[in-house]
């Protein structure tokens, strides 16, 4: 029997419904998440299943959404909140960075801080420069936070369930362009541990490390390179913090060549951290300078052709791989 296929957004909702069924401390808050089921449809049906006591539409108040989640988590609940767009996480950075991330430290580890902040991230659908950014590098910089960005429906279900069960604050980033994509997702309960990379394709000539929406383009590029006889290994890190650096190092020791691809802007992007760690820990295994493939250091334009130019595509990935060979 063929495996069941569902969309990324359906996988998000399924993970939440399973966890809310399993644990009555889990509840949802966010803008337009209840009645309409989320601006991108990822919480559809949850209000009907659990009622308004556990699925709450909020005013447009990002600091209150995250700040209230901190207080609720400190007193034993497990909020899963949504900040509609990653760009707007800037509005509640105090609540994320100074409060959520530090609360266990300031209280000698006393309360659990089990809270998940879900957010739609990255671009590709013409929403422009305040609705297309991806700040995983900022969050990864903060001790006390976990940062996750799944690239498939299978991964998003398993990782979101792990994030909800984690006793620490988790920034859970869902690439906006992936919501409508489908893939095989088991109906039964399963989890994927946070901090575990996925080797999506084995190869011997070069390693491509990626995450988020660019992952599918990297896989396309790998197939195109294979047609030319270039055999790449593709690793989707899936969790930004904690980073599965061992998986990356193991691959680099094998291939000796590395390309890091992500959709956020290049300068100060999380790719730079991976490059730094690899040269610190596996310099002797490298046969060529590491290449980064990322968005140009510009703002994201709404024009379709311009946006496609800015965001990394198959061509840039292929060029990156050829530069390290």
């Amino acid at each position: 029997m063929a495996q069941r296929q569902i969309s990324y957004r359906e996988a998000v909702a399924e993970a939440i419904i399973e966890e809310m069924t399993r644990d009555d401390r889990v509840f949802l808050m966010g803008e337009d998440i209840a009645v309409v089921g989320g601006a991108f449809g990822a919480t559809k049906g949850i209000l009907a299943a659990f009622g308004e006591e556990r699925v709450m539409d909020t005013p447009i108040s990002e600091t209150a959404i995250v700040g209230y989640a901190v207080g609720a988590a400190m007193t034993g609940l497990r909020p899963v909140v949504e900040i509609m767009r990653c760009d707007w996480m800037t509005i509640c950075m105090d609540e994320i960075v100074n409060q959520a991330a530090k609360m266990r430290y300031f209280t000698a580890g006393r309360p659990e801080m089990a809270m998940v902040i879900r957010t739609a991230t990255e671009g590709g659908i013409g929403l422009g420069a305040q609705h297309s950014q991806s700040f995983e590098a900022w969050f990864a910089h903060i001790p006390g936070l976990k940062v996750v960005m799944p690239s498939t429906p299978y991964d998003v279900k398993g990782l979101l369930k792990s994030a909800i069960r984690d006793p620490n604050p988790v920034i859970f980033m869902e690439p906006i362009i992936l919501y409508g994509t489908s893939g095989p997702v088991p109906k039964e309960d399963y989890t994927i541990p946070l901090g575990q990379a996925d080797v999506k394709r084995e190869g011997k000539d070069a390693t491509i490390v990626c995450w988020g929406a660019v992952t599918s383009r990297v896989m396309n590029a790998a197939k195109m390179l294979a047609d030319e006889g270039i055999d790449t290994e593709v690793i989707d890190i899936r969790t930004i913090r904690p980073l599965d650096i061992e998986a990356i190092l193991a691959s680099v020791r094998k291939t000796g060549r590395l390309v890091v691809a992500h959709e956020a802007n290049k300068t100060g992007g999380f790719g730079a951290e991976i490059v730094a760690q690899v040269q610190e820990k596996a310099f002797d295994h490298l046969d060529a300078p590491i290449q980064r493939v990322a968005a140009n250091d510009v703002l994201i334009p709404i024009n379709r052709n311009l946006e496609l130019m800015v965001l990394p595509r198959e061509e840039q990935v292929i060029a990156g791989v050829k530069a390290v060979l």
Binding site: S61, G71, N98, R104, F106, T107, G144
Partner: protein, 325 residues
């Protein structure tokens, strides 16, 4: 509840204890025993004692950077608290949080906060837990006039009132936000009036009158416990010291405050002096009883100081403690 003679005398002892704790702290800060800084509440003791006396044991407190009084009035172990402020291993977070990050989970004090207004939304979330679990508790949030001008005040207040969250907001208006006087901070200097905008009661209370504070907070707690939602109590206070132990004056050493203000406030607005006179007037206090209570307070502070001074430094490996991501 009517306050008995014993209650009132105990409240007087607590106010004196807070005063001595902070005067002692200023002395030891001058001797180099306090890393960084601390914010004393000298002149504001009636607010801590009046408010905390009104709380039930199960109620929660979320507080600010100026919180020593709130903890002492709630019965926190003073040696542990002073050791924390001194940065010692025996402190409540092993000497890593200090004066701005105190907590006492045994007494439901979920934390003080180094960010002005940082607790306002957290207190709302604590109240949300109470509401969702349907427990007989109230979340009490201390903040200051400075915090009332932050966006979190608006977001947190609106949501708490909208959802009828059991919170009591206590705004200690000490008339200065760091160095800037109220008239240069607030377009409407009546902060309690803002409650109207959020459809909640707003009260204004004299912060030199510990009984008035007790009565106002008792009323707001009762309202919250009955499901009536949040209240704002603005308590006018008189900050008799600088903003912090590091920031007491202009860079050249001169005062940023009007000439004679501090002396006038010491003469006419010192809540301990005012309460002592009241207790004498009631015939509850005489020189002998006062001396006994003050000696008891001094003994507590002396013992705490001895403990803090003799406590060990934190171990180097403790820097990793209570960070889980």
């Amino acid at each position: 509840m009517e306050l008995t003679k014993e209650n009132l005398l105990d409240m007087y002892r607590q106010m004196v204890t807070i005063r001595l704790f902070e005067q002692n702290l200023m002395h030891y800060a001058g001797e180099g025993h306090v890393p960084g800084t601390g914010h004393v509440s000298i002149g504001e003791e009636a607010i801590a004692v009046g408010a905390c006396r009104a709380l039930a044991p199960q109620d929660y407190i979320i507080s600010t950077h100026r919180a020593h009084g709130h903890l002492i009035a709630r019965g926190t172990h003073i040696p542990t608290m002073l050791a924390e402020v001194f940065g010692k291993a025996t402190g409540c977070t092993g000497g890593k949080g200090g004066s701005m990050h105190l907590s006492d989970f045994d007494r439901n004090i979920l934390g003080t906060n180094g960010i002005v207004g940082g607790g306002i939304n957290i207190a709302g979330g604590v109240g949300l837990t109470i509401k969702m679990k349907k427990t007989d508790q109230v979340s009490v949030c201390f903040f200051g006039d400075g915090a009332s001008n932050r966006g979190v005040f608006h977001e947190g207040f609106n949501l708490a009132s909208l959802w009828k969250i059991p919170v009591v907001y206590i705004c200690t208006n000490n008339q200065y936000a760091m160095t800037l006087p109220l008239c240069k901070n607030c377009a409407n200097q009546d902060i309690s009036a803002r409650a109207t905008a959020y459809d909640m009661p707003g009260l204004r209370v004299d912060g030199t009158d510990v009984i008035a504070v007790y009565e106002a907070v008792s009323g707001a707690l009762e309202r919250a416990r009955q499901g009536g939602g949040p209240s704002l109590i603005e308590i006018i206070a008189f900050r008799l010291q600088g903003h912090s132990m590091r920031m007491d004056a202009m860079p050249d050493g001169s005062s940023y405050r009007p000439e004679g203000e501090i002396a006038d406030w010491w003469d006419n607005k010192d809540p301990i002096k005012i309460f002592r006179e009241k207790l004498y007037g009631l015939g509850y206090l005489d020189d002998e009883v006062a001396a006994t209570l003050e000696a008891a307070a001094k003994k507590d502070i002396d013992e705490a100081t001895e403990f803090a001074l003799n406590s060990p430094e934190p171990k180097p490996e403790s820097i990793y403690e209570w960070i889980y991501a």
